[in-house]
């Protein structure tokens, strides 16, 4: 049932402003792609274009190779999960789940079997005869997912389905949604503003900014090999160092404020390094560099430290069993394998 989806040069303008600018993207059948980006990046607009709830100004959308860009929403075989649930208040949970089957005139027995299957999968068994106003927020979102997938859509679209739920509830709903999506083997595009969700839920991750796609790839690629400082900064804090490269006998190396590291590649003059907190480790007394703790935040499972070195400041995580206070001096070292080397070519486009 699940389709391969191809988005070709999609553009959409609202009041002359580009909400989507020449977006191209492919979704492999049965995979989950997460769509992240700052608010106003065009994530929801892209989702609504795919659903047919807004029409694009240019470009085409293909489901399994056939163009659907001009079809109204109801003829596209999509499922849509809204942040605000948008359940039909006058219908029972059962009728909400069955809505997509009922409008498609699915036979009674088939319909009932499907509702039973979804009820079990989404843990809604005892709630089928309730109204949406009589169930909790987490339950409503599970019903919303069930309604969106009951008719086996070619593409399932989720618009920040967990954003309205408190964190504890969100994590349990996330599990149910994810396991159901995997069982259904649907092609999924999942919009989230949560970076952690983007990385853990997606087979692939798309980062958008200003109506365009900034980077597409595996979660580890976006986190570990960002193409520019914007992508690097989006997925976590860090410090950028722009440093001269020198050549030694074995290859290229960089003299950083926290020690000397080797870098790969063919001899650029300078290199941009992105140092994430986990790239900085506690060091023994004989190694690393001494830095001064400017601020120490205790977070239970770790300390988060802001430390000053010669010429700058950075943050790092510190083991909870090594008590530390602001003003203390600690020794840290760089973990070379976790240092991110930003490609030079994207420098100009990144600094906007």
């Amino acid at each position: 049932m699940s389709a391969s989806v191809e988005i070709k040069n999609l553009s959409k303008f609202f009041a002359g402003r580009g909400a989507l600018r020449d977006v191209s993207l492919k979704l492999a059948p049965g995979t989950t792609t997460t769509l992240v980006g700052p608010s106003g990046a065009g994530k929801t607009t892209l989702l609504r274009c795919l659903a047919g709830l807004v029409s694009q100004d240019a470009g085409e959308i293909l489901f399994d190779g056939s163009a659907v860009g001009m079809l109204p929403a109801e003829r596209r075989s999509v499922g849509f999960v809204f942040q605000s649930y948008a359940l039909f208040p006058h219908m029972s949970v059962r009728d909400n789940l069955a809505f997509g089957l009922d409008v498609r005139r699915v036979a009674r027995r088939q319909r009932d079997a499907r509702i039973e299957e979804l009820g079990a999968s989404l843990a809604l068994d005892g709630l089928l005869d309730r109204r949406p106003s009589e169930i909790s927020g987490g339950e409503r979102q599970r019903v919303a997912l069930g309604r969106a997938i009951a008719h086996h859509p070619a593409l399932l679209l989720l618009d920040e389905p967990l954003a309205a739920l408190d964190p504890n509830l969100a994590s349990s709903v996330r599990e149910v949604l994810l396991s159901t999506i995997r069982r259904e083997k649907t092609t999924v595009l999942w919009v989230t503003h949560d970076r952690a969700d983007a990385l853990r839920l997606g087979d692939r991750v798309v980062l958008m900014r200003d109506g365009g796609i900034e980077q597409v790839g595996l979660p580890s690629a976006l986190y570990r090999a960002p193409q520019n400082p914007f992508v690097a900064a989006f997925f976590g804090s860090g410090t950028m160092w722009r440093l001269p490269v020198s050549r030694n006998g074995r290859g290229l190396e960089v003299e950083t404020p926290l020690g000397r590291i080797a870098v790969a590649g063919n001899s650029p003059d300078t290199v941009s390094l992105w140092i994430r907190p986990e790239a900085l480790r506690p060091a023994g007394s004989s190694e690393g560099t001494s830095v001064r703790v400017a601020e120490a935040y205790y977070e239970g499972d770790r300390y988060r430290l802001r430390v000053g070195y010669e010429g700058g400041e950075t943050t790092l995580e510190w083991p909870p069993d090594l008590p530390v206070q602001a003003g203390a001096s600690i020794r840290i070292r760089l973990e070379p394998s976790l240092v991110i080397v930003l490609p030079e070519t994207s420098e100009k486009s990144a600094v906007r």
Binding site: L53, A73, E74, F80, S84, A86, P89, G100, R147
Partner: protein, 271 residues
């Protein structure tokens, strides 16, 4: 402090209730009782009237005003039908529309309520003289007064849900325009729609100002006929006619009360 305030509120609402009972319930009760028991102090009935049993008074009235009653019922039905045909799209437009269009539509719908019925009636006669004989101006006059109430009631039901979002959900789940209307919009509007239809019925059934001027001898309504009964016939006859009039209006009002309550509670808090 709050205790004292609450006591004053109780007293005030008690007084209000007493006033309402004195002005509405008691006079109606007197009329109805008069039609049944025909006490001497209400005035004397004609000989032919007195000779029959009590239930014959009603058949007497029905014989006398059967045609007008029939016409009023037909007219009220016509008004309800027209309200459904015009009012449902209008209420939907009001619920979906935004800003200036919505304000314009709403005020133009409510405008007839601010114009005296006599003025509306004369304007209709002047502008569409030919339509008067068929009773169509009369129907139009009634519609002008019933429609705002119908649209308000239906529109309120639709405004209590996020209509745009539910329509999008319906479309994205595979429902075309008609399916979405039939399965989502209409059921959501139904509480207001039923209340509005009953309101339109009672408004048309009881309308006097416009009817009195627009009615022709063949299209006279029951309220106009009631007026003639009061001025030309004895009181017991008028009382019996009033009882029959109320017999149709009061059940509609009671039903209206029953519908008005669940309208607000039907869907719980918005999801």
């Amino acid at each position: 402090m709050t205790h004292v305030r609450r006591r004053w509120a109780t007293i005030a609402s008690g007084v209000l209730l007493a006033v309402l009972v004195c002005l509405v319930v008691v006079p109606l009760a007197v009329v109805v009782a008069g039609s049944v028991f025909q006490p001497r102090w209400l005035g004397l009935a004609s000989e032919s009237w007195r000779s029959g049993s009590q239930t014959r008074w009603f058949s007497y009235v029905l014989d006398l005003y059967g045609r007008q009653i029939g016409h009023s019922a037909w007219l009220a039905g016509l008004v309800v039908l027209a309200c459904l045909l015009i009012g449902v799209p209008a209420a939907y437009g009001l619920a979906k529309g935004s800003g200036p269009t919505r304000r314009l539509l709403r005020s133009s719908l409510d405008a007839p309520l601010a114009v005296p019925g006599i003025a509306v009636a004369i304007a209709l006669i002047q502008t569409y003289p030919a339509a008067r004989t068929g009773g169509w101006t009369l129907a139009a006059g009634h519609l002008l007064y019933a429609l705002p109430f119908f649209v308000r009631a239906t529109g309120n039901a639709l405004a209590s849900v996020s209509l745009g979002e539910l329509e999008e959900a319906a479309a994205a789940t595979g429902a075309g325009k008609w399916e979405a209307f039939r399965r989502v919009i209409l059921p959501l509007a139904r509480p207001g729609l039923t209340a509005g239809a009953l309101m339109a019925f009672t408004i048309s059934w009881g309308e006097f100002n416009v009817s009195f001027l627009l009615a022709t001898p063949t299209t006279q309504t029951f309220p106009s006929a009631l007026y003639l009964t009061y001025t030309t016939n004895s009181f017991p006859v008028a009382a019996a006619a009033t009882a029959i009039f109320l017999a149709a209006a009061i059940p509609a009002l009671v039903l209206l009360q029953g519908i008005a309550k669940p309208e607000t509670a039907a869907f719980g808090e918005p999801a």
